[in-house]
């Protein structure tokens, strides 16, 4: 994961958690800057 967001070191990232259509498939993931990737 590339953190190109200034001084940020923690993010809540909204993403698709499943293929369920619409809002039901959307979730949020808490990410810290030193996360792998």
């Amino acid at each position: 994961m590339v953190f190109r967001c200034g001084a940020c070191s923690r993010l809540v990232v909204y993403c698709r958690m499943s293929d369920e259509p619409g809002a039901k498939g959307i979730g949020a993931v808490y990410v810290e800057k030193d996360a792998e990737g």
Partner: protein
Amino acid sequence: MGFLGININKKYGGLGLSNIDALLVLEEFAKVSSFVAWPIFESAVGPIKAIEHFANEDLKQKVIPEVCKGNLFVAVSMSEPHAGSALTDLTTKAEEKDGNLVLNGMKRWCSGAGHAQG
């Protein structure tokens, strides 16, 4: 001074007041300075509310009290090149692999990222 986490549960260091209370305070700060109001916004309606509502207790205890104390800002990343504020259009995926969540996609910007810190 207690302006962070106005509508956050008291057990996490917030004041436990209503959403309306938080927004009224936020409005007054925003009239004077949007820079000063921003952390209040983030702790009252931003990603911290998502953590308070949906995260497991360990994450709540790790993050929310530090936000209420003013020690931590958490940014939020939603919009994508082809998905604005309609989150149902998101294409960034989270998939579980080997016990970890792997996120794959592209975000356009991160609200609050310039102020979020470690």
